[in-house]
Symmetry: none
Amino acid sequence: MAKAAIIGGGVIGGGWAARFLLNGWDVAIFDPDPQAPRKLDAILQNARASLPALSDLPMQAEGQLRFADTLAEAVAGADYIQESVPERLEMKHRVYAEIQRTAPNTPLGSSTSGFKPSELQDGARNPAAIFVAHPFNPVYLLPLVEIVPGPAHDAALIERVKGLLRDLGMFPLHLRMEIDAHIADRFLEAVWREALWLVKDGIATTEEIDEAIRMGFGLRWAQMGLFETYRIAGGEAGMKHFMAQFGPCLSSPWTKLMDVPEFNDALVDLIASQSDAQSGHHTIGELERIRDGNLVGFLRVLKERNWGAGKVLNDHDARRKSAMPAASTGPEPDMAAPLVLTQMQVLPGWIDYNGHMAESRYLFAASETSDALLRLIGADMTYVGGGHSYYTAESHITHLGEARLGDDLTGSVQVLGADDKRLHIFVTIARHKVPVATIEQILLHVDMKAGRTCPAAPAVLDRLLPIRDAHATLPRPAQAGRHVGERKS
Amino acid sequence: MAKAAIIGGGVIGGGWAARFLLNGWDVAIFDPDPQAPRKLDAILQNARASLPALSDLPMQAEGQLRFADTLAEAVAGADYIQESVPERLEMKHRVYAEIQRTAPNTPLGSSTSGFKPSELQDGARNPAAIFVAHPFNPVYLLPLVEIVPGPAHDAALIERVKGLLRDLGMFPLHLRMEIDAHIADRFLEAVWREALWLVKDGIATTEEIDEAIRMGFGLRWAQMGLFETYRIAGGEAGMKHFMAQFGPCLSSPWTKLMDVPEFNDALVDLIASQSDAQSGHHTIGELERIRDGNLVGFLRVLKERNWGAGKVLNDHDARRKSAMPAASTGPEPDMAAPLVLTQMQVLPGWIDYNGHMAESRYLFAASETSDALLRLIGADMTYVGGGHSYYTAESHITHLGEARLGDDLTGSVQVLGADDKRLHIFVTIARHKVPVATIEQILLHVDMKAGRTCPAAPAVLDRLLPIRDAHATLPRPAQAGRHVGERKS
C-alpha cells in the first residue's frame, strides 16, 4: 500500500488527504492544530459524498488515515509528501529542513500559490526533490494541479509524480518555466484586483459580480478555455478574425489594473458585508455541498461527452479497469450454482430523481455481470479484438426492490440455455442476498465485421457448455419466460 | 405576435435572432451581407438543437423570420430593436439616426462591449430609448445580458425591457452606473491581456492556458462566482479569513498587467498558430455544437439543483407555465399517433467495447422518453416533490439495430394501456425513423413514502386517459407481449 504524508491539514491539505485516501492510499497527516481531525472529518465526508460519483467503477477500499505526532513520523516511509502549510517562506523552509532530515529523497510537492520553486528549494538539503504541485479547491474534485519544477530538478522524479497524480484522477499541467503565481492564479489575481476596484468604487456588489461571472463566461470556461472560446466567437473566420476584431480594444482604458486598491479595513469590511448579504443564508458547509453537487454534475456531463475534464475522468477509469484482475484469474467459482460474478456499490451518479437507482443502471449492473461471464468463458477483450463478440438481442427486467445510494450489490448469473450461437442467461442483482432485480437475456454470437451471427470458437464453447450442463439441474427462476404485464402465476 | 428587429446578423445578432424566434417572436433582420441568410441558418440550426432542451415545457411555435431590405423596413412596427453592428461609433450613430427616423420611441438595445451608453446616445433624436444590452455568446443559451442605461434614460422603459428579456429566459443584470466595458468584459479583458503576455513570453501555449482554466477555476465559476467561491475557500472562518490570508498578495508582482503587449502581426500569428494546433482538428461548426452540448448539460445540472443559471431556467419555465391556458401546456401534439417526445444524440460515453451503444443506454433513452411522457401528463418534478411518482415494474427490450457514436435518435411512446395505478407503454428508439430498439414497460403509480401503489391524481389521469383512448386504435407493435427467446411469429 502506497503512503502519502500530508503536512498541513487545512482546506487544501485536507482536500489532498481526501483524494489520496479515496484512491486507496494510506495517509499520515501532520498538523499541530488540535481542531485538525474534526476539520478533516468534515472534508472527508464531503469527498466521500462526491468523488465516487465521478467513476463508473467501484472505488478502491479507502486507505488508512493516521494523525502523526511529529513531522518525522508523518513522512517516515512515505512515497509522496505534500506540503500545504501557510504561505510564509521561512516556515516552509523550516518544514522542508525537518522533512529532509528523515526523507531527503521523497518527492515533496508544495501547494503554494505564492512562491516559485527556486524560492522553495533555497537552502534545502536536496532541492531536486522539491517542486510546486499547486491544486485547486476542492482538491478532491477539481482535476487541475500545476506542476512546476525548480532550477534544480530531477526530470525522472517529476515524471513519476505526474504519473502518480494521474492515478489519483488529476490533470498535471507541467509548466515549462517557473513564474510568479504559476499560470491559473495570474488570471485569478487579475480578476480579483479588478473585482475589488468595482466594489470599492461602488460600480457593482459582490453578488452582481458573481452573477456577471456565472451567468455568462463562467459557463463557457468550464468546458473550453479563453482561446478556444474566442476561436468560436470569431465565427467561421476563426481566431485571426477574432484577433483583428477585438485586439485593438487592448489599448482602451478598460481596466483599472494599472494600480492596486489600498487593502485596508474599510475595503475588507465592505467586501465581507456584501458577501454576507449575498451568501450568508447558507453556512460554509452548505455552500461546500452545493458546490460539490454542481461540480459532480458538470464533470459527469463532460464525462459522457468525453470532453475536457470529463476525458480526464474517462482515461482514469480506463487505466483503473485495465489494472483490475480479470474475473477468470480468481479461484474457480462453483459451477453447479448461479455464478456470483460481480460486486458493485450504488454510486451517486446512479440515482434518479426518485432518490433510488435509475432503471437503466439495473441493466448496466446486468451488463457488468454478463461481461464477467463472457470473460470467464474466454470471450474477453482479446476475443472481441479478433472480430467476434456476443451481442444482446433481447432483455426482460423485473424490479423487485429499490436499491439506494451506497448499497452493496452482487450480480449472479444462471445459464438457462446455450448452443454454438445462442446464450440464454438469467441475471440476479441482489442486496444482502435479497434480489432487487432480475434480468433475462438472449445473447447472440456474432461476426462483428460481417454483422451476422456465427458459431462461437470451440475454446469458448468448451468453457460455456459445461456451465450450461451444470445449471440444467437448477430450478428455473419464476421470472424467466415472463412477458411484460403477465399476471404472477 | 411581438416583433423584434435585429440590426446586424453576425454571430451576436444571429444569436439574438435565434433566441427571439425560438421564444415565439417574429423577427426582421437587416444585414447588408449577402451571406447573412446562410450564416443565420447555421446559428438557427444550432439553437434549435440545444435551446429546447433547457425547458421542460413544449416550446412555443417559432416566430416568423424575415430579412428586410432596408433598416426602416426592419424596424417598422417592431416592439424591440437590438443593434449588433461592428464596434465603430460613427457607424452606430448613423444606424441609430436612421432607426429613430422610423421608430424613435422603440427600445433600442446595443450589443456593444466597447462603448458606454452616453457615447451611444450622443446626438440621438431620442437618447432615452437607447441603452446597452450586452449579451454573451452563444446568445441563445447563456442567460447573462448586461443592461446599462445612459445618463438620459426612461426608468419605465428599462424595466419593461428587463421583463421582456426575462421572458426570453435571460438574466438581465442592471448596472447602477455606466463604466467602460460594463462588468464582465472588464474581467475578460484582464484575463485576455494576461494570457497574451503568457503566450508572448513563451510561458504557456494557448492550449496550456485553456487547460489551466477549464480543469480548475472554470468549473467553479460556472456555478458560483469569484466571491462566493472565495468565501468557501476561507473555510469555516469565511470571507474575512480569506481576505486576511490572500489580500496582501495583491501587492506582489504577480501580474504583468501594468502594461499592454504590443499588438502586432507576430503576436497574432503566434496566437493563431497555437490555436490551430490546439483546436484546428475541429471545424468552428463542430466546436459550436460541442460547446452547446456541454452548456446544455451544465444548465440542466444547475436546473435540477435550482442553482445559478438553472434557477433562471426554472423561473422561466414557471412563468411560461403560469401564462399558459389552464388546460394546456402549449400546442397539443397529435395524440392519435405514437408521441415523439425525445431527441438524443449518441454520446462518446454511451459506447461500449463493441464500438456501439451500450445496452443499458437504450434503456436510458427509453427512460428519458417515458419521463417526457410523465411530464406531459403532469407527473413532473413538482408532482414527485409532492410524494408521488411512477416506478417501472417491468421492462422488455428488443434490439433491432446498432446505434453508433453521433447518431441522432428519437424516442416515441405508444400507450398500450392505463388505469388509475398502471401505465403500460411501448417506447421505440429510432434512427432516421428506423427503429433500433423497442422497450415495453409497465409503470406503477406509487405513494413514495408509504412505498406502495395508489391511484394517480385526477389531474394526471385527465391527461393520461385521453392519450390511452386515442392510442387504442393504433396497431399493436409486433414486439409487445413477447417473452425472451420467443420465436418470431
